[in-house]
Every structure is written in C-alpha cells, then in structure tokens.
Amino acid sequence: MPDNLAVSVKDLSYAYPGGQSALDRVSFSIEPGESVGVVGPNGAGKTTLFLCLVGVIPVKLKTVGVAGLDPSVPDDRRVLPAKAGIVFQNSDDQIFNSSVFDDVAFGPLNLGLPADEVRLRVSEALETVGLKGFGDRIPFHLSGGEKRRVALAGVLAMRPAILLLDEPSSHLDPRGRRELIRLIQSLSGTKLIASHDLELIRESCSRILLIDQGKLVADGHLRAILADSRLMEAHGLEVPHSLSHHAEHERHHVD
C-alpha cells in the first residue's frame, strides 16, 4: 500500500456471517486533504466500508491502507485510532461518559498523552465544535446537534489525519444541520462523509464514491456524478435539488 496516499483500498470484499456480501472487490484511493462523499442507497455497504477502514471489521492483508497503516496488522490497528477517527451515525453510541469533558478526553487519554496535553486538546476540540464551556455538562441532557458535536469533538481531540463521518446530519434539525455543514467545511485534513444528505455532500465534498450492493459503481467529480440523473436513479438516489437544473441541462444535451 503506497504510504503517500491517505486511503488506499484494493479489491476489498467482505461478507457478513451467513454469506451476505456487503462489499465486493471495491478499489479506490484518496489523496491527503481530499474531501470525498460516499453515497448509495440503504444497505449499499457505506458503513461496512468505514468499519473496514478503521479496523473494526477484519480485512485481508494488504487490501486496505489508511495513513500508511494496514488495519489487518494488529500493531498497525492499535495505532490506527490516532490517525483515523470515525464519528458514528448515532451519537448515543459514541458518548458514554457522564460529562462532556470526560467523553472528549477519553480518546486522548487512550493515546497515553500527558494530562496537560489532554486538557489542551479537549479545550481546543470543544472550541472548534463551538461547545466552549460545555465541559461540565452531562451529555444526555444535550440536544441532538450538541451531542453530534460532542461526538465530533471526541474524535477531533485525537487529531486524526483522516476523518470519517457516517450520516453526520441524521436526526439534526435544519439549524443543527447548517451549523454542522459549516463545521465540516472548516475542518482541514482528509474527510470521508457517508450520507443520504446529498446537499451536505455537495457543500462539503469535491469527489463522490457511489456504492450500490457492495460494489463501487462510480468514482468521480461531485457534479459529474450527483447531476447524472440516470446514474442516480439507477441506484436508488435522486439528483440534489440544487443540481437539478444542471442535470436537466445535461439530459437535454445527451438527448
């Protein structure tokens, strides 16, 4: 796996116990600093792909490379959380501590960082997500948007080079969603965002991976894929409203 790539995936396949195929010979690579949207219908394999990238699902040797590490190698897998952070769809699955501070500090403490460094990172991460002063709050009393930002802060505090966001806008109201989009846009580093919210993807990414039934069916520039109404409809998706005019134009051009 080339070390200069942020993510490299080569012929990755995975079947759940019982034989149901979730990923079928998926291959792609991502340069450092790229923002990539992963789209596809429900059950396409987006979350499974993310779980393979962060080493939760076992993968074959040399099929996945993340920040120069191979998640199939136990030693690499141990240091992977410092390089690649994932924010899960349901914040309640991710936030388990009884204070916001403790939850954001959980990752840095696991990295074995000194206490002062942990405090600094927690403070910076909370400020980045706009939750300065929330350290003593009880996570369960926060709104859905605030919980999502705490979950994000918990990952940002580990300063990963690669950030994976799984359905980041689900369960958020319009204001929370808008704030989240601004936040995602402000984050540097390599980003992979799996979402059905194609407007969020359009505003946050420049490249799209379209997955359906475990297969990578399209990989290209955002506009080329999201505005292709035939491709989108063939895979259970719709052209985002903001690109529908563009899609209409393209369709007439082709016809």
Binding site: P81, S98, L109, N110, F140
Partner: protein, 242 residues
Amino acid sequence: MTLRLDLLPSPDSPLYRFDPRWKLAGIAVAMAAVLALRSPRTLTIAFAACLLLAVFGQVPIRWLLRRLGEVALFLSPFAFLLPFLATGDGHDWLTVAVRVYAKGLSVVTLALVLLSTSTLPTIFKAAHALRFPTTLLHVVMLTYRYVFVLGQELRRMRIALRVRGYRVRANAHTYRTTAHTAGTLLVRGYERAERVSRAMRCRGFDGRFRSLIEFRTRREDLVFLALVVGTATSLCVWDYAS
C-alpha cells in the same frame, strides 16, 4: 430525560473534600458492619451514626429524609410480614422490624452520603484504585449510562403498542406481547452494546479506563477512615460480645 443520580446535591463539606478512595473504603466497611450487626440496640446506634455522617457531609436533610421515606415504604412489607412468615427463631415482631428498618435505612443513608459527596466518575475511579473487579466496574458504569437509553426505547415501544390499540389485559395476547417486547429490548440492548464497544475501540480503548482524576492522601483522610472503621469495629464487638 431526568437522571436522578445526576441531580444529587453536592454540598461543599469536609466529607466532599476527602480522598474518595478512603471515603469509599470507609463507607464500604461501615456497610458491611451494619449488615453484620444483630441486636436492635447496636443497629439503632449504627443508624444514628449514619445520620451523623450525613450531617457531617452536609447532605440536605429534607432531601435525605424524603429518600429514606421511600425506602421505608419499600421495606414495610418485609418488616411487617416477615415476623408472621418466619418461624422458630423466637424473636418478637418489634425486634425483626427494627432489624429490617435499621439495616435498610443505614445502608441507604451511607450510599446516599457517598453519592452526594462524590461524583460518579470519581467513585468509579476510586473503586478502580481500590482494586474492585474491573469488569464489574465497567458493567456498572455502562449500565448506569445506558439503562436510561434503553428506558427511552421501552417508552417508545409502549407508545407504538398503544397507538395500535394494545391494552394490558390478563390474556395470552398480553403475555405474548410482553415477552416479545422484552425480547426486542434485549436484542436492541445487545446491538447497542456492540455499537458502543465498536465506538470505544475506534477511540483507542484497550480495556482500561484512564482518567485525569488524581488522588492524594492527607492526614484528614486517614483520620476519617480510622474513625469510621473504629466505630464499625466497636459496634460489632459490642454486638457479638453481648
């Protein structure tokens, strides 16, 4: 959502400032001693000592009494029915009632003193430092966190049942539905546990909880421990000698 344990008063008192390890150890010894006592006289003195500890910890009395009242209500069937059900030990009704009440209320008072003079993460950390079994601590900590989430799921499921016309009745349909609800809740709990574990591993969790809380033993902590252990031992000796 309201978490009763999160709404505990945390008065700034000498007890609040004690090293949580020695506080936990002292209170654990006191609880064991209370449970070992037999005579109503020593049990009454032990309960008085527990209340004294609550006063020392500046636990709000009205708050404490309200909770003790609830516990007393819960204990009443045991206290009043047990003498009629138990046979052959020769104790009168009052002795058994005093035993049940004094033990129950003393243990709850001690638990409330501990919970209201330390934060839960601190208690878990102190328990870890005192070498309580790690797995047990993880289970307690995560149960405390997720029992409310599962409670919310149960509420949603009950609403979903009601809006489809379900009413609890004494028939096979109700028993079957209750069993299905419990089963679904178990499966959802298991799935959530899987997801939580996955999220923790993704943040570098290796089975060991780390914390920024640092403990420091001072002379006052040891004096407190000696006082509690001394009182507990004296009561036990008196109880078993008389």
